[in-house]
């Protein structure tokens, strides 16, 4: 082999070699995600068309029986309503609060900024199970919230927070707002810090109020991040599980049960029904996809 013929071939192989190394670097992560995320997703679709005991699954007849059953399942419909109640009330309140906190903390003349940020962000460090139990204890019938409100003469007699449908839902929503507002605030704060502060200063000189600055400068510039947080929160809310189990145990009478909680119960508790659980979980998947697409479309237009 002559030297002139060998040279270009060697270069090509070096490039190919790099390309191959690149693929090798991606391989473990890619295989794991395909194996433990996408493959189970298709299996879930298949299982959702089946019936019978977990050990002896057969295709149900008619094929979509599990999906038909959902329409008549009062608990499923209740869990769907509950989950959407949390979504519709909690997510907007939380994102608005996060935006307000972030814009207050973004002021350059504010003192103790770091301290405030740490405090508001701190709830993020608690496990979902932990904070659920803390809130359950705080809002217990003979618990501290009742004792405090009665001491302050706001209440005459204790409220049974966790045992009536509306207040139990309210406690879950309050707990969720407590846990996640700081998390979203940090996203907004990070994005706000990339906006040149002189924009705000010149707006102030032009006489723009804080509210005008928020609506005319901050929110339009933060649109992509708002979209990201909205999608994340929606996704998270549709998967609520730890709170439903540990704060209210789904009760009273399924008034606070979430879809994930009901799916877990259907999968593992009393008469496990894998087919039906898979069908319900596929509905969650579709809802997440639909809501994400809607939000992206809305986010695009504005």
């Amino acid at each position: 082999m002559t030297n002139t013929a060998g040279q270009p071939r060697k270069r090509l192989t070096m490039h190919q070699r790099q390309n191959l190394v690149g693929w090798l670097f991606l391989l473990p992560a890619t295989i794991l995600i395909i194996w433990l995320s996408f493959y189970p997703m298709f299996r879930a679709l298949l299982i959702s068309l089946m019936k019978g005991k977990p050990t002896a699954l057969t295709f149900s007849d008619p094929l979509f029986r599990n999906y038909q059953r959902m329409m008549q399942d009062k608990v499923f419909i209740q869990s769907l309503i509950n989950t959407f109640t949390y979504l519709i009330i909690q997510v907007p309140i939380m994102l608005v609060l996060a935006m307000i906190f972030a814009s207050l903390l973004n002021r350059h003349d504010l003192k103790f900024k770091g301290l405030f940020r740490t405090c508001i962000f701190l709830p993020c460090a608690t496990a979902l199970v932990s904070y659920s139990i803390i809130f359950r204890t705080l809002f217990a019938y003979d618990g501290m919230i009742n004792a405090m409100l009665m001491n302050m003469h706001i209440l005459k007699e204790p409220v049974n927070w966790l045992n009536s449908p509306n207040t139990a839902k309210a406690v879950i929503i309050i707990a969720l707002i407590w846990r996640w507002t700081g998390y979203n605030m940090v996203f907004y704060l990070a994005a706000m810090q990339s906006i040149d502060y002189s924009v705000y200063e010149s707006a102030r000189i032009d006489g723009a109020s804080a509210t005008t600055q928020l609506f005319r400068i901050t929110i339009p510039l933060l649109k992509p991040i708002i979209l990201v947080t909205a999608i994340m929160s929606t996704n998270g809310t549709l998967q609520l599980y730890d709170e439903s189990v540990n704060l209210t145990q789904g009760g009273p009478a399924n008034a606070t049960i979430t879809m994930s909680h009901y799916i877990y119960n259907t999968t593992f508790i009393s008469n496990p029904n894998f087919g039906y659980a898979a069908a319900m979980s596929f509905v969650v998947l579709i809802l997440v996809a639909i809501l994400s697409v809607i939000q992206m479309k809305v986010g695009d237009k504005r």
Binding site: R17, Q18, N19, G22, W23, F25, L26, L32, I33, L36, S37, F38, Y39, P40, M41, A44, I47, F101, L104, L115, F116, C119, I120, L122, P123, C124, A125, T126, A127, L128, V129, S130, I133, I134, T137, G143, M144, A147, W178, Y183, V186, F187, A190, N235, L238, Q239, Y241, D242, V245, N246, S260, I263, Y264, T267, A277, A278, S281, V284, V288, S292
Partner: protein
Amino acid sequence: MREGAFKKYFKRTMTYLFLIVVSFLSVFPIYWCFVSASNTTAEILGGKLLPGSHLQENLTNLFAQADVLTAFKNSTVNTLVVLVLSLTVCSIAGYGFEVYHDKAKDRVMGLLMLSMMVPFVAILVPMFQLFSNLGLMNKTMGFVLPSISTPFLIMLFRNNARTFPKEIIEAARMDGVGELKIFLTMFVPTMRPTYAAAATITFMNTWNAYLWPRVIFKQNSAITMPMLVSNLMGGYVIDYGVVMAGVTICTLPTVIIFFILQKSFTEAIAGSVK
């Protein structure tokens, strides 16, 4: 003019007041939980806000009631294994997606990012089947496997790999340094802040995980801290002092990590926004 100054002063005061109230409300439940670990049930429910003298008693009862040492050890081992594997797999993938990127790899990246949209509960049933068939129930590996490769970490490492100068890689290649060696000896040390950020997020998520451990760990010997804490609320008579001691033990590690690595945690979030 004077009135304007007053209004400005008033507004400033209100801002501080508002932030103080919000900060107080954010910290209070955690403070109250820690304090309650040293109080009796009656004191906790009655709203005692200061540390008491029953810490030792609550801890003794807690350790008698539940296998805290096992749960703490399990949670620690699970978390450390996930940390090592997840940071290795995701960082090398993020580096790969950025440094060797071409059309095909970008498409794979897009596909992996789509998996962010797959809710875990949606794959609960097939995952349970898969892992019991593989004999991974009650095994550390069973818990660890699904947590290793996460789209969020891959994205974080890829976005941060962009700041790593390509010239350095080219120069090293000229000197005949191998591709893996470039990654290990040049990329890893310079990206220490990104690794810290990824570690914080992974630590929080893994330590606090509840749904998947509950599915995969059926034996008492495999129980994790959040599972143990959840079980404490199961009895007919609940000793809230014991419960709060348990919650405190479960929460302290993440709160400590939060304070040590808060800066990198915030940076991680900022990095994912880029």
